[in-house]
Amino acid sequence: MDLIDRYLAAVRRHLPRNLQDDVIQELSDNLRSEAEEREQEAGRALNADEQSALLKKHGHPWLMASRYLPQQQLIGPALFPYFRQTLILVLFWIVLPITLIGGALSAIYSDHPGQAWGQALGAAWNGAIYATGIVTLVFAVLERERVRFTALDKWDPSWLPAAPTGRPVPRGESVAGLVFGLTFLLWWLGLIHVPQITSWGGQPVRFVAAAIWTTMFYPILFSLIASIAIYVVDLVRPWRSITVSLIDLAIGVYNVVIVAMVLRAGHFVEVIGDPLHADVLTRADRFINASVEWTFIVLGAVFILDMLYEVWLMTHAAKSAKVISSLA
């Protein structure tokens, strides 16, 4: 019965050492008993195909051996909800914020902020993989030791927060807004720098902010801080009450006013260079200022569309609430 011996040897290889002798001896007896019964029925020895069919019924040696392992699930149904919540907490409230803050600080003090952000994103990815592995390992050990958590058995429904009212805000939207807002704020405060254009049409030039930016520095700063505050509120409390929506609308109106004031200035960047190349300077001046102008026109349109969308979401949420309460 060469095939049976080979099967038993293969199962043995995948068994823990302390189980090998015992399991293989028992399995051997069971296999041979079954083979003998079939031989008695057939009146002859089993051929290779029949032996093969007998062994295939028992399953692949690797699978057969795995069924003898004391732990059949890495993380069982009792622990899985705790595992899931722990993973969410670790990834989105520890790894991601630490990486983003670290990335921001690196970008501030680095000569190559883009590279620093790239490294921060790489670190976030690696951190997420390690954190997932460590949390999974911890819970796998807890499952093996049959640890069970009972703290949540003592919960009291009266501890639950009030039911959310208002429209839901996707967390991704808040996180994206926060990341962009913080990045722009750091740039506005001069804490991070973008590469400067130092030549135009083959001539050395310098671009200097026009006077309008000095006038608008604090109004824009206030707008950035207010927007970031709204994103933080949305992140912590991902459903917008009417109050928060109205504040957001007010910020939107304020932003549109800022855009209008900037556009009214008409001139945004001074181009400084060799006066002997006035034509180059003029072309650069027209191009840069037109670019800034169109950017702000688009920005103004985006602010207006965002406000209209917010109003639509508010009315939509109000209508849904009315329908739900009429059905109750």
Partner: protein, 107 residues
């Protein structure tokens, strides 16, 4: 519909009842092969890959006792219910009967 859905649900349905069937049959002493045959003769097919690890698990849970004995020129491991196993079996049987009665009323 997922073609594997029925198999998956059937497996869940059988999982608990297999343990009860094995405990019931081990009120008398058996070794692995004769236990499987006895269950099959009574209409409950259980594949080898499931039965033998189940016996190990029940023994680890101290619901079964086992001993090696030589029979027919080979060493065989004979299983039977332990005192704890007998108690658990009675409790599980009562639970099973309760579930059956409820199901009869529901279906």
């Amino acid at each position: 519909m997922d073609p594997n859905l029925f198999d998956s649900l059937r497996l869940e349905l059988r999982r608990g009842s297999l343990t009860l069937a094995v405990l019931a049959q081990l009120r008398a002493e058996h070794y692995g092969y004769t236990l499987r045959k006895a269950l099959a003769d009574l209409g409950l097919e259980i594949d080898e890959g499931t039965l033998y690890p189940l016996l190990r698990r029940l023994e680890t849970q101290e619901l079964l006792t086992s001993e090696w004995r030589e029979e027919g020129g080979r060493k065989k491991r004979f299983y039977k219910l332990s005192p704890d196993g007998r108690q658990i079996f009675k409790q599980l049987l009562a639970e099973w009967n309760g579930i059956n009665q409820s199901l009869d009323r529901i279906v």
